[in-house]
Amino acid sequence: MSKTYPKGSFVEIQSEILPPGKRANHLPEDTKATPLTMKVKGFLQKPSKEGETIKVKTVIGRIHQGVLVNPNPKHTHDFGDIIEELFDAQKSFKKFLKEGGDSNG
């Protein structure tokens, strides 16, 4: 059985704000075909499992309801991969500064 997270755990929930048919009129077709979805983080109000519809209290004390989608909403963004093309870019402007280019005026 899936794990139960205790009351007070800081989690992320997701809810559907507008289903595809209820969205604004002037949208591109690709966007219109999707729901407007919201995610927000807060503290569990009672012990809950992933996938359950639950309530959380945010850091400023507001209550939101949604499906528990992420029991550990850590920040996962990073500095990316090594971009080899940037080494060539670096070489090009350093060389230009030292030697000047063809279009040196």
């Binding site: 704000i17 969205r23 690709d30 991969d81 093309e85 940037l86 402007f93 500064l97 280019g101 279009s103």
Partner: protein, 467 residues
């Protein structure tokens, strides 16, 4: 209460009035015209007072650095004797890492003074962190609403970082999938909470940027012994350009040319779920600058205080590849790790400096902090994951959403010029859609002359072309 999309949108005016605490009807001159200067000078917010508020809240007084290696590169490319000195205003030195602290400082101060318990801003950009940071300082609650991920749940990494920063400063962060109905969630949240709308486009917010123009004028005089000949502003919603230009004018720099620079994202639809994660710049691009320049009142306040056509002397675009390339140059040649979004005007500076005399001063008006997600490697990795090709060559050949082209060498850094008259034309087209222009009174003509920064006869010529 009916919280359906249409019901909330129909309550828009009353929600806004409560949330901004400013009755805009007092500035109205006719259906079309309003007294812009009266709106900007409303209340206590003189530029001296704003300097004081910002000083109290740790904002402003950022350094102005000379970029000597950038200048040298521009001079190598320029005709003999040409190549202005390039300076950059290091706005990353503000508390939350961007010039947006200037707007947030005044907005949050205003909210606190008027007894609001909290502030709300709808923004995926640096402004969220700025409002959250200022709210933290003033002990107000803060909610930031972001357009953050596509329908597959994939986040733009830069927006992820901004969300993290907002949380760090103690804000509740509401993240949404792609779509303009963010505005609906924004209105609903304002109504539920009774918090202040820390709009990017209030007179408080825009007046907050005037100190940036003022500082540039003062620092140029002190460091270079002269006024800046040209100031390049990364141009998105228009506030940065409007506020900076007003500040320059107040500091006696009416002759300084104010240039707006945006990333050209032509071809990518800003409300498209598919296109959302194909762009590597989340702001400072034509998806904001063109619509906001040509119709400022699309904003989240009744009358937008950011009105760029009043101040825009010249408008240029650069490509994503050029902005990334100069971001790398700034780190490797000047020892400053910043941006990338703030470096849009820096890319334009390399080219524009070449037109200018060597003793002239060209100011790039902002930097922004960088970090995970915002970092050049993070954005380029994300671009590759989304099928965007990274190439070396001539950036003029780039296709937004398909490739990013680094200039083969600095000689290929260029700007694309955009006609101000074309922007004026689109503005007038929008006026025609919303007002009866066959019945314009003197007050309307005067307003349009100020709005478009040109004469009535020129406007008539433009209208002639249009009809």
């Amino acid at each position: 209460m009916d919280n359906s999309y249409n019901a909330v949108m129909s309550r828009r005016n009353q929600i806004m009035k409560q949330a901004i605490g400013l009755d805009y009807s007092q500035f109205s001159l006719s259906d079309l015209a309003f007294d812009y200067e009266k709106m900007m000078n409303h209340g206590e917010y003189s530029i001296d007072r704003i300097v004081e508020i910002q000083k109290n809240q740790g904002v402003g007084n950022t350094p102005l650095y000379e970029l000597k290696n950038f200048t040298e590169i521009a001079r190598k490319l320029a005709p003999a004797g040409k190549g202005a000195r390039i300076f950059v205003k290091d706005e990353a030195a503000n508390p939350s890492g961007s010039f947006k602290d200037r707007r947030a400082a005044v907005s949050v101060y205003n909210a606190k003074k008027n007894g609001y318990k909290g502030v709300i801003a709808a923004t995926s950009g640096n402004y969220g962190a700025a409002v959250a940071s200022q709210a933290a300082m003033q002990m107000l609650d803060c909610i930031i609403i972001q357009e953050a991920f596509d329908s597959k749940g994939i986040y733009q990494p830069e927006i992820m970082e901004k969300g993290r920063a907002c949380e760090t400063y103690g804000a509740e962060v509401i993240q949404l999938s792609v779509g303009p109905e963010l505005f609906y969630v924004f209105l609903k949240t304002l109504e539920e909470t009774g918090y202040f709308n820390a709009s990017l486009y209030s007179p408080f917010g825009i007046a907050g940027i005037e100190t940036l123009g003022l500082e540039i004028a003062e620092q140029c005089k002190e460091i270079a012994g002269r006024k800046p000949s040209k100031v390049i502003v990364t141009h998105a919603g228009g506030g940065n350009l409007t506020g900076t230009a007003r500040g320059l004018q107040k500091a006696g720099c009416s002759d300084t040319e104010v240039i707006g620079a945006s990333i050209d994202l032509t071809g990518l639809h800003m409300a498209s779920d598919n296109d959302f994660n194909k762009k590597s710049f989340t702001t400072g691009h034509t998806g904001f600058s063109v619509p906001f320049t040509t119709w400022p009142d699309r904003a989240d306040v009744p009358k937008n205080a950011a009105r760029p056509l009043r101040y825009l002397d010249r408008f240029v675009t650069v490509s994503q590849g050029e902005a990334f390339y100069v971001t790398e140059m700034l780190a490797k040649l000047e020892g400053m790790e910043r941006g990338p979004a703030g470096n849009t005007s820096l890319a334009a500076a390399i080219k524009i400096a070449q037109e200018m005399e060597q003793d002239e001063v060209l100011v790039v008006q902002e930097t922004e902090y960088t970090g995970a997600g915002k970092h050049i490697n993070a954005q380029l990795s994300f671009a590759k994951e989304n099928g965007i090709e990274i190439q070396h060559g001539d950036p003029a050949e780039n296709v937004p959403g398909e490739n990013i082209i680094f200039p083969k060498d600095p000689s290929l850094i260029n700007v694309k010029e955009h006609s101000i008259d074309k922007l004026r034309n689109t503005y007038l087209k929008n006026i025609k859609k919303n007002f009866d222009i066959n019945d314009l009174r003197d007050v309307d003509w005067k307003f349009l002359e100020q709005e478009l920064n040109c004469t009535k006869s020129h406007i008539k010529t433009l209208l002639g072309k249009e009809s």
